[in-house]
């Protein structure tokens, strides 16, 4: 199994506070990897460094053999690393279709973009039904679908997700996770950052547990689910 992305000794600070303290992990091509941990452990911070929104204080992020740790966010999107933002960050005054079109901003292959749009609509038929509605009128779950769909429009090689389950009803969480598995089966590598540890580890091939800025456990998703330490700390005993 080839490694698509390798994080080496990554540290990220907010001013004097070091939120991520020299972490190492890697993502295998074609797999779902989960980065789990409690609130404030440094999960989102790590992800923001991967997508370029935060500049790392130290360390390397090797993607496809290139260090992307200090590239601007739009350059990282061009390389094929695309993040679905936490809190969904959809453009509420634009229509669903306009949001999706903006997702393909870094591309210029018209035929390819049209094909991606068809794929997204096939994945989320509800978005097609609401294509001409303002995105602000969508339900929380639909907004999350739109956020994922918009990221897919960039034709990523690696999809980064920050808390896709946040603020959603349990049934909707399951639907979103089912879709993630479906996208992954089609060949896309996924890094999933979650507080919903059980759901995340269920669908992940590999998982990393992060605590106060350090990776404390690394194993297959199934092994982590069965690990007594994980169970005690995150799955409510």
């Amino acid at each position: 199994m080839s490694v698509l992305l390798r994080v080496h000794d990554l540290s990220v600070s907010y001013g004097h506070i070091e939120a991520v303290k020299g972490i190492n992990f890697h993502l295998n091509s074609g797999e779902i990897t989960a980065l789990v941990g409690a609130n404030g452990a440094g999960k989102s911070t790590s992800l923001l460094a991967l997508s370029g929104l935060l500049k790392p204080a130290r360390g390397k992020i090797e993607f496809d053999g290139e260090d992307i740790a200090r590239l601007a966010p739009h350059k990282i999107v061009q390389r094929g690393v695309v993040q679905v933002a936490e809190g969904r960050a959809i453009l509420t005054t634009l229509t669903v279709a306009e949001n999706l079109a903006l997702g393909a901003y870094s591309r210029s292959d018209k035929a390819g973009i049209a094909a991606s749009l068809d794929e997204v609509y096939a994945l989320f038929p509800r978005l097609k039904d609401r294509a001409e509605q303002f995105a602000g009128n969508l339900s929380g779950g639909e907004q999350q679908m739109l956020a994922i769909g918009r990221a897919l429009m960039a034709k990523p090689k690696l999809l980064l997700l920050d808390e896709p389950s946040m603020g959603l009803a349990p049934l909707m969480v399951q639907e979103i996770f089912r879709t993630l598995v479906e996208i992954n089966r089609a060949g896309l590598t996924i890094l999933l950052v979650e507080q919903n540890v059980r759901q995340a580890l269920k669908i992940a091939s590999h998982g990393y547990v992060i605590e106060t800025g350090k990776i404390v456990l690394a194993d297959s998703g199934a092994n982590l689910l069965a690990n007594p330490k994980v169970e005690e700390a995150y799955l409510g005993g």
């Binding site: 739009h74 999107v77 453009l91 509420t92 903006l102």
Partner: protein, 287 residues
């Protein structure tokens, strides 16, 4: 045609002012459309006016070249100050650009070549109605095209949510700089046109008050589209004239009108969504 000649001899300056103010309102619309609250446009207008007037007076360049230089000079300044200033957002950006405006005003006030506080006198009256009409038409057409283009959609995404825009692969910093400089270019041309029909310019005309006036035009008209700023600029230019018969109460009523509009039409006078809703309610009421 006699009535027209009478009208024109009395009101041509006013009509010219409406045109120049529309250009200024459009210049700030451009920066607002990219989510930037910049108050530098009065200063950019001033730079354009002074550069153009000095080129006319000292080097006797042709009017067309002078106008172009009046746009290019502030745009170049915007490119230089944009990189550090545009890291700021919201009120902080407003404060920084306001401070920049004061720096420009005080510099002009103290330089020899700009005539200091007395300003520049005897600028030839080269601006004709068709100049303003043509430049307005080109600007409106250009901005309308821009709005529908890929660049325009990037601006809109940045205005709505900067983080989301970055995650979509939009080079946010570059587009902000583009909006800022293009706005400066339009404001500069407006300043150059203005200098060549008022005969006289002084630093007073490009200070804080004017910066706020320009912003007010766009906010009053509504800046979700191009018609809003044009309407706002027209109203704010004509209103003081229409209220002339009120003499001393003029400023009072002028202010009251602004307060009422902002209170009852917070998104500006020209807000397509609300107007559509009104039309539908009117139709529904009759059916």
């Amino acid at each position: 045609m006699e009535w027209f000649n009478d009208f024109w001899s009395t009101y041509s300056t006013l009509v010219f002012s409406v045109g120049v103010h529309i250009l200024l309102a459009l210049s700030i619309w451009l920066t607002l459309s990219c989510g930037l609250l910049s108050l530098a446009n009065a200063a950019f207008m001033g730079i354009g006016a002074y550069v153009a007037a000095l080129l006319t007076l000292h080097l006797e360049w042709s009017f067309g070249t002078v106008l172009l230089a009046g746009g290019v000079a502030p745009a170049a300044v915007a490119l230089i100050i944009g990189a550090p200033v545009l890291r700021l957002s919201g009120v902080y950006l407003a404060m920084a650009t306001l401070a920049f405006g004061e720096v420009v005003r005080i510099t002009v006030l103290n330089l020899e070549i700009t005539g200091g506080p007395e300003g520049l006198n005897g600028i030839p009256l080269s601006t004709e109605a068709w100049h303003i009409a043509l430049i307005l038409a080109v600007t409106v057409y250009g901005l309308a095209r821009l709005r529908r283009s890929k660049v325009g959609r990037a601006f809109e995404a940045i205005k709505e949510d900067e983080i989301a825009a970055r995650l979509m692969g939009i080079d946010v910093d570059r587009y902000k700089l583009l909006a800022f400089s293009l706005g400066a270019f339009i404001a500069g041309i407006a300043g150059a046109l203005n200098a060549h029909f008022t005969f006289f310019i002084s630093p007073r005309e490009y200070g804080f008050e004017n910066a706020v006036d320009i912003l007010t035009m766009a906010v009053l008209g509504g800046f979700s589209n191009l018609i809003g700023p044009m309407l706002g600029a027209t109203i704010l230019t004509l209103l003081p004239e229409l209220l002339r018969s009120l003499h001393d109460f003029r400023s009072l009523v002028n202010g009251a009108v602004l307060v009422l509009v902002v209170l009852f039409l917070p998104k500006g006078i020209w807000e397509p969504r609300r107007i559509r809703a009104w039309v539908q309610r009117f139709k529904g009421g009759r059916a």
